[in-house]
Symmetry: C2
Subunit: 341 residues, 2 copies
Amino acid sequence: MVTIKDIALKCDLSIASVSKALSGKASDINPKTVEYIKSVAKEMGYIPNASARVLKTNHSYSIGVLFEDQTQSGIQHEYFSGILSAIKDGCEARGYDITFISHHIGSRNLTYYEHTRFRNCDGVIIANAEFTNPEISYLVESDIPTVTIDYVFENRSSVVSDNSQGMHDIIEYVSQMGHKRIAFIHGELTSVTQKRLRGFYQACQKYKIEIREDMIKEGRYHVPKDSAIATQELLDMSNPPTCIIYPDDYSLLGGMTVINKRGLKIPDDISVVGYDGILLSRLMRPEFTTYVQDAKNIGISAAKKVIEIIENPKTCKPEIITIKGHLQKGSTVKDLNQVED
Amino acid sequence: MVTIKDIALKCDLSIASVSKALSGKASDINPKTVEYIKSVAKEMGYIPNASARVLKTNHSYSIGVLFEDQTQSGIQHEYFSGILSAIKDGCEARGYDITFISHHIGSRNLTYYEHTRFRNCDGVIIANAEFTNPEISYLVESDIPTVTIDYVFENRSSVVSDNSQGMHDIIEYVSQMGHKRIAFIHGELTSVTQKRLRGFYQACQKYKIEIREDMIKEGRYHVPKDSAIATQELLDMSNPPTCIIYPDDYSLLGGMTVINKRGLKIPDDISVVGYDGILLSRLMRPEFTTYVQDAKNIGISAAKKVIEIIENPKTCKPEIITIKGHLQKGSTVKDLNQVED
DNA sequence: CTGAAAGCGCTAACAT
DNA sequence: ATGTTAGCGCTTTCAG
């Protein structure tokens, strides 16, 4: 391995000069010397050693990413893989690498905080985790810059998708289409779900839609089977809903199977709405009516924010960044207003 | 930050003893002393510093992962996110962290090799990259342990999905179902595609299926539009195929749209086959006939292999590990044998 | 069984 | 404009 020392030797200069020339802090050095050093370094195939640099500077240019594959919503979920991909791009563009943070390293058990420290990460993006785990709050409340995604901690920065607004827009649209009996299958009771429920209730109130508790059901996110069952129950009601809102596009697919099996047509016999706006939702016919979350923007924003905190720890204040999505109207909601004939 | 030195001070022992006690190499030290040191370390909240350790030992317990989001086949693709997720699990289980390797870090341009060296990665898994890029071959041919996925380099280890076998199994099945006019829309000409084409041709020969070059078309992987167009062309033929094989399940979806728009029914009017076996393929009705790639096993195997090379550089020989998938019969291929009525 | 000391590769005062 | 020097935190001979 070629080191700074080897270059100094070859150039007949001190390691200090070489270090300065190579690490940008060359204001001190004769520009010609700098050029010379750089050329020799290149010729010798010099590659700096991040570990040595970190040890000295306490700055690793490395961001930890917490992404625990829990239940069905891991990296495999398009929403999350979109976020991850954007985090990667956002960090790399600013000169930071990313490392996954887990709570064990082999057989040894490290907490998230310990792992982050161990690897000297400058900051952490908590993308997908069990936020109620005390380990997470410990990490977030530590002195390590953190940004959480889709979950807010007191006095800390986070990037969140506009879940409440999303539900609002869905209800608004469905209501405009003339629907009155709207069912809502929501995911397990996470904070995201709570926001969606709030959006749902508020919008129903606003648009004068009667809330029927027997039309509000729970099914785990990304478990199409759950939504299929809920759909059956809804269809079995004496006065079934005219529109069903699903926790996500995959779940909608689960409901769809049941609907089709009963010989019902979407949207003629029943309207359906998804959430997420994954690729699939645009490929299906009829195209899904769904709320498209802007995963890319969420990831980019999280990367940007955490680096902002790292680089301006004093001036950077905690902030909740809400990323807007948009309604994809698609064709799975029937317009009941026209059924006057 | 608590260091080994602080602990030594508190214990009134040397840093050497503390280091030994804490890093397992404690065979030297009095067991009671070891216990004592450990308890003090814990009490003080000691966290080792990976950078310092790496600097000294040249062993980072960190695996670089090359995952460039090219075209439509990035992390977002379920096949790749499945692999990534498994790599993560496989590495973490063995005590290694993973870091993404890119070719730039901020504005500075680093080659993959330089980046890997810079971060002191013990090895690299090349999961998704432009394999013809000389930077990749340089990395692979360097002294850094590497494992490539779905691409083979001379005298190096790799993990590959059984693409040739996959096509074989598809053709075998389709042929058994009585199909003679089989169209194949393949992806862009990568090495994976070449293997599939080989499997296709060989199986056709074996099962006495006439190969009609006008029924072999190209469409980019994961670009449903491409497959939609190819499907149109195929359906427009005077004597169209009875079965169309698509490059992947998403592309199949693209073809499906066209088929449905023409009022044709799957599988009654035309049979279709996908590839990958993503979640979606099991949720659709009719369920897709497709070849399921074992992404999980591929990722796990890659992790295992690269760590094997790292830990036994002498004894570990290059190896091509082929991971078997399996045919998901589904219901999108019609049995023509029964159409005797 | 324990400790002293050297040094991994680099940066950053502080000289010169 | 260049060099000297002191470490960052840790592991690892080698001595005691």
